[in-house]
Amino acid sequence: MSRRPYIRKVERNWWIRQPRYISYMIRELTSLFVGLYCALLAVGLVRLAQGPAAWDGFVAAFSSPLGVTFQLACLAFAIYHSVTWFALTPKAMPLRMKGEPVPGIVIVGAHYAAWAVVSIVVLIGAGM
């Protein structure tokens, strides 16, 4: 008998095959929007360095309908990133206290608490 193993090729669209791969791909694509928003922040810093008039122009640009639409898309993906990132923290960083494992929900909860604190501090700093 001769051996002739058959090798199946992985399709380029492998990730549409299963819901778990689709949600993985959405999670990975959040990085596109995080990256684009970082570009907006970098442009903002450059405009800030150019003085008050340039800064006001930047504020007007990101407040335009187009700017707001773009940022709402970024916001949706950024929140998806936060939620999925925090959800995986107990796997990456399991903690033990007095020899007992800390429940995952405590680790995730601590991240949500930190998220709330950072958000409130930034809002107060921005003048809320």
Partner: protein, 112 residues
């Protein structure tokens, strides 16, 4: 096989993922919702004063640079996932863009 230097790429990716998760949503909430609605005003003096402070500079740079690196690294992996390859062109496009943003932000923070 030999031990990889991937931690050089991965550590800022992981740190950037955490920083992005904590700070990017509230920043977008401010610039994308509260300021356009007129609830909040980002006056030049306030922002410039924060960016003048050395600690302020560091915080702002961290909030831009780490998430930008996170995004670049993840996009590179996603390009591989999508069968777009993992050659030098993809690496240059992803990490190069991140470096461009980081250097622009750093330059602006020094100049401001």
């Amino acid at each position: 096989m030999a031990r990889s230097n991937k931690p050089m790429l991965w550590l800022p990716f992981a740190g950037g993922g955490l920083v992005a998760a904590l700070i990017i949503p509230v920043l977008i909430l401010i610039t994308g919702v509260l300021v356009p609605l007129g609830v909040l005003h980002l006056r030049y003096e306030t922002i410039a004063a924060f960016a003048h402070n050395p600690l302020g500079k560091l915080i702002v740079l961290g909030a831009v640079a780490l998430p930008a690196w996170h995004a670049a690294h993840r996009l590179r992996m996603t390009a591989h996932d999508l069968g777009l390859g993992s050659g030098i062109a993809i690496k240059a496009a992803c990490y190069g863009t991140a470096w461009l943003l980081i250097l622009a932000a750093a330059g602006a923070l020094i100049a401001v």
